[in-house]
């Protein structure tokens, strides 16, 4: 067998996937068929290149990590956003194409992150001094948890951008600028390991999102964007205060100033300060998630935001809260996080999974319903993180990706109907299945994935979270009850999603305005196809994802438990004193600032002077 025919034989799964995508759907446009074929091909290529056997090969000879890769991923969109400012406002087509090319390149670049076996520790690390006088450095790196969130955001943002270019026709330049800047800021927040850098990206995200809601939003867009901004800002200012306090304490104990996450995570604060700083950080993140009772900004923001904004908000922006909770709250305040976990898990179940599900059931606006379902789903994610078990945390991270895909797709689907009818009230619809069969099929499919039907992505994550809460030692004796209640929340998800689907798509087609609605157009199909493909890739092959996060998740879990123990020891010895624990070694230590070679001649404190006096 010569090489050509053997390569042809090897290519048959991809060819088959392409053929399935291109030939089976009954679509008119050639472009659309081609695009669907490409989606099928890429999904097949993704699965086969991520298959565990390949990963083992890679582990034997790990490919080199190009340390500029993260800089490229983060700054390509930001530089692109600045470049957009110098392009002519009069040619929106050019602006859109440039934006799509930049986002596409960013996605391709981010796939490179998967080439490296994600062992515990930091990868693609890049450290440079930024403001050395204040101990602030430019420090970015990914691990097995953040890599998935980076890829989730580079995957969904181009789709959201492509979808919004279909419906938003005015002020294209501003739109492209905001999308690119938002994208860069989100990626930056996912990869930064310096608290100052993280804070900069965290705040930078707010501005483009505010613009997206405030300019292209619905009737009450100004109110919604204010609410979004104020809620998030209130939390993040408390976080800033906590960061400054930690840096100051660290300087007192260690003798040098640094904002580095790894250095500060070895600091054990005095008891009261530890709990207050944890509360400040957790508040900032839980507002972002959002968790009951701080969730009311989300429905307003979602209802008013344009489709693209909603997709990014749901798919990526909310994940920053959950991601930051693992990284910063559990990483730096393990003791307080451990102590608060059981109660917070109760809030996540009672206020998130159950309460938000019931409120979602009673919503008349489809978008508001999906917004409340987001609160419920993120309750699952947070529950997974609070369990402090490997299954729970891995399930939580997987559920973040799942929620990004399912809810992103749901918002795109709601945007489709909104573009046609300019309303989203369930009562306006009914029997849509008769006029929009393909749309209905997509909607029902994504609904199933959102509910968590086995075989779709939602099932795996929810299952792991519930399993984690059953076995959790952090939740203690309530773990089983909480796992049971969380399982009950899955039923409620079916209640609110299916009742909405039933009222919207089935039954008689009573409203005459709906009788001539067009089914999905080319753009909408092309946007939805990759999301639907990922629903099944994640649902059927969750191991492709779990394998790459496994060692990081178990590392994070183990360090969480260790740090909790160390925190308790320190509190038993002296609860009023800050302590510096020894630094971690190996791949985890990299990027710590160096200890000062010689202790600088600090001005003598009064006590030290007194000691000298008394010695004389």
């Amino acid at each position: 067998m010569n090489s050509l025919s053997s390569s042809l034989v090897q290519a048959w799964p991809y060819a088959a996937a392409f053929a399935v995508g291109a030939l089976i759907p009954r679509r008119e446009s050639k472009f659309e068929r081609f695009a669907l074929g490409i989606v099928g091909l890429l999904a097949a290529a993704f699965i086969s290149s991520m298959w565990p056997e390949k990963a083992v090969e890679n582990a034997a000879a790990p490919p080199m990590e190009w340390d500029q890769l993260l800089n490229l991923i983060v700054f390509l969109p930001i530089v692109g956003a600045v470049a957009i400012l110098f392009m002519p406002r009069q040619s929106p087509q050019l602006l859109r194409r440039v934006t799509m090319v930049i986002l596409g390149l960013d996605f391709i670049a981010s796939l490179w992150l998967l080439k490296v076996p994600m062992t515990d520790g930091w990868h693609f690390q890049y450290v440079r001094e930024w403001l050395p006088g204040f101990g602030i450095r430019y420090h970015v790196a990914v691990d097995g948890i953040s890599v998935w969130l980076v890829i989730l955001s580079t995957f969904t943002t181009p789709l959201a951008a492509y979808a919004s270019f279909g419906s938003l026709k005015k002020r294209t330049k501003d739109l492209c600028f905001s999308l690119l800047l938002l994208h860069g800021a989100m990626l930056g927040a996912f990869v930064s390991l310096d608290l100052f850098l993280f804070y900069v990206f965290w705040e930078l995200m707010l501005v483009p999102m505010l613009i997206l809601i405030g300019i292209w939003g619905g009737v009450e867009k100004i109110k919604a964007s204010y609410k979004f901004f104020l809620y998030t800002m209130a939390g993040s200012l408390l976080m800033l205060a906590a960061i400054l306090y930690m840096v100051w304490t660290h300087e007192q104990v260690a003798g040098y100033v640094t904002f580095d996450y790894l250095a500060l995570s070895r600091l054990v604060l005095p008891q009261t300060a530890a709990y207050l700083c944890f509360a400040a950080f957790a508040l900032a993140f839980l507002i972002k998630v959002p968790m009951f009772p701080l969730h009311t900004w989300l429905p307003d923001a979602h209802v008013q935001a344009p489709t693209g904004g909603s997709v990014i908000l749901a798919a990526v922006l909310l994940k920053l809260g959950t991601y930051a909770y693992i990284r910063f709250c559990m990483g730096m305040f393990a003791g307080p996080a451990y102590a608060a976990a059981a109660n917070l898990a109760g809030v996540a179940i009672g206020g998130g999974i159950l309460y938000a599900a019931l409120v979602a059931w009673k919503q008349t606006d489809i978008k508001k319903l999906i917004a409340y379902s987001s609160v419920a789903h993120l309750g699952f994610v947070m529950l997974g993180l609070f369990t402090g078990t490997e299954a729970g945390i891995a399930g939580g991270v997987l559920q973040m990706v799942n929620h990004g895909i399912s809810t992103g797709a749901l918002f795109i689907l709601v945007g489709v109907i909104y573009d046609r009818r300019h309303t989203r009230l369930v009562s306006e619809f009914g029997g849509l299945a008769k006029v929009m069969p393909i749309y209905t099929a997509c909607f029902v499919l994504i609904t199933m994935s959102s509910i968590g039907v086995p075989g779709t992505n939602g099932f795996v994550g929810e299952f792991m979270v519930i399993m984690g809460s059953f076995t959790s030692s952090v939740l203690g004796s309530h773990g089983k009850l909480q796992g049971g209640l969380a399982a009950f929340g899955v039923i409620l998800a079916a209640v609110y999603m299916l009742s909405m689907v039933q009222k919207t798509f089935f039954g008689p087609l009573s409203n005459p305005k709906n009788k001539h609605l067009k089914d999905l157009n080319v753009r909408e199909t092309v946007v939805l196809a990759p999301l639907i493909a990922m629903v099944f890739v994640l649902g059927l092959f969750p191991n492709l994802f779990l394998d790459r996060m496994k060692s990081s998740v178990s590392g994070v879990t183990a360090r969480f438990m260790d740090s909790t123990r160390e925190f308790r020891n320190a509190m038993d010895t002296n609860p009023d004193r800050a302590v510096l624990l020894p630094r971690l070694s190996g791949a985890l230590s990299s990027g710590y600032p160096e200890d000062p070679k010689k202790q600088t001649e600090a001005p003598e404190s009064a006590t030290a002077a007194l000691d000298k006096e008394s010695a004389q």
């Binding site: 609410k227 809620y231 007192q252 104990v253 260690a254 003798g255 040098y256 009951f292 009772p293 701080l294 969730h295 009311t296 900004w297 309460y355 019931l358 409120v359 059931w361 009673k362 919503q363 029997g431 008769k434 006029v435 008689p508 087609l509 009573s510 009788k515 001539h516 020891n569 320190a570 010895t573 002296n574 004193r577 302590v579 510096l580 624990l581 020894p582 630094r583 200890d595 000062p596 202790q599 600090a602 404190s605 009064a606 006590t607 030290a608 007194l610 000691d611 006096e613 008394s614 010695a615």
Partner: protein, 375 residues
């Protein structure tokens, strides 16, 4: 109980069969060569009356064609299933010595067999069980025939008339759906309604509306202070200056103590002030205050002393300003008995005594040296 169930199964299945396939046709009035009057309209505009078929008047006498056999797509699977249903029972019939499926489910029940005791794997019982089994089946069919066929269904109608309550109870499936509707669904529904209301007015009301209201009210109140009238600003300024002046013109004694319990040396440093002079006095334990450096007010701003273990001392500072007003401040200190109070150093730091008996802090290797207060 099992026999009763078998009778009833046979009864209801044959009731179904007799009612559908025997007796008179009750569906609609049969018209030969009947043509669907809706067919044309539905074809011309099939968007329109999709629901027309669902909404018919049940009392209206409807007409239709002669009922016909179902198409082959439906018949074929039915024939296959019927054939298997008729034959499959014999696959494992001991009476015919066929054992094709005997071990089929064994792997599944392997674990269960440890917990559950099998009463009769005995083959002698087979015939004694099979004969009544067939008989009760026949009995069920017979009862169904009596009720629904023999007198044109009269006994069934009579029975329903005789026990209307039972009939209604069974017709409504034991009211099971209604029961769930009223209890579980109703409760969850009410809860959801309440939560939706609470989310808007309590959660959002407190977290967003109330805080926004407080900010707004504060702003409104403060706005009245910003009238833009110079006289009002001047009056506020005069008042503020007067208060500040009053504060400046009265003495405020205050000092900051520096303690070192390990060495037993203490120092107190008075806060400075415009035109202040100071006088220090102190007492040991419960004794009287004794002046240090004379009764006169002087320029001495600090005082230091050392204490033995467990000793107690109170220091009093008096301040006189340029106008001769006085103010005083007191500070009491006890040196702890134990040189090293529990937990004065972190767990991983070890305190050793050096050769002069002074404490000396040993840090773990690689630990950056701490600054300041421990030495």
């Amino acid at each position: 109980m099992g026999l009763l169930g078998a009778v009833m199964t046979a009864f209801y299945m044959f009731r179904l069969y007799f009612r559908i396939f025997h007796g008179e046709f009750k569906g609609w009035k049969i018209v030969k060569n009947w043509v669907d009057p809706h067919a044309h309209a539905a074809h011309a505009d099939d968007h329109h009356d999709d629901h027309a078929h669902h909404e018919f008047d049940p009392d209206e006498a409807r007409e239709g064609p002669t009922p016909h056999e179902s198409p082959w797509q439906m018949t074929t699977p039915l024939v296959i299933l019927a054939g298997l249903a008729a034959v499959a029972g014999f696959l494992n019939a001991p009476l015919l010595h066929m054992h094709a499926l005997e071990h089929w489910l064994e792997p599944v029940f392997k674990l269960a067999s440890t917990g559950v005791k099998s009463i009769d794997p005995d083959h002698h019982m087979m015939l004694t069980l099979a004969v009544p089994g067939v008989l009760v089946g026949v009995a069920g069919v017979g009862i169904a025939w009596f009720f629904y066929i023999s007198k044109g269904g009269e006994p069934a109608a009579e029975l329903a008339d005789k026990f209307p309550g039972v009939h209604r109870f069974l017709m409504n499936k034991w009211w099971m759906d209604e029961f769930y509707e009223e209890t579980f669904i109703g409760a969850v529904d009410a809860l959801a309604e309440f939560f939706t209301w609470a989310d808007k007015w309590i959660v959002d009301g407190i977290v967003a509306r109330l805080t926004a209201g407080i900010v707004q009210v504060t702003g409104t109140v403060l706005r009245y202070a910003q009238t833009g009238r110079v006289q009002a600003y001047a009056a506020a300024m005069v008042l503020g200056t007067a208060c500040l002046g009053w504060f400046m013109l009265t003495p405020h004694a205050s000092a900051k103590p520096f303690e070192n319990h390990r060495t037993g040396s203490y120092r107190v440093e008075a806060a400075p002030g415009l035109g202040y002079t100071y006088r220090w006095s102190s007492k040991q334990g419960d004794g009287d205050f004794k002046f240090e450096g004379g009764e006169e007010f002087g320029d001495q701003r600090t005082t230091s002393f050392s204490l033995d273990r467990g000793a107690e001392r109170t220091v009093r500072l008096e301040v006189q300003d340029a106008f001769g007003h006085h103010s005083s401040w007191e500070y009491a200190v006890t040196r702890p008995k134990d040189d090293r109070p529990p937990g004065s150093a972190p767990a991983n730091m070890v305190i050793q005594q050096d050769d002069q008996g002074r404490p000396h802090l040993v840090l773990p290797p690689g630990h950056p040296a701490p600054q300041g207060d421990t030495q």
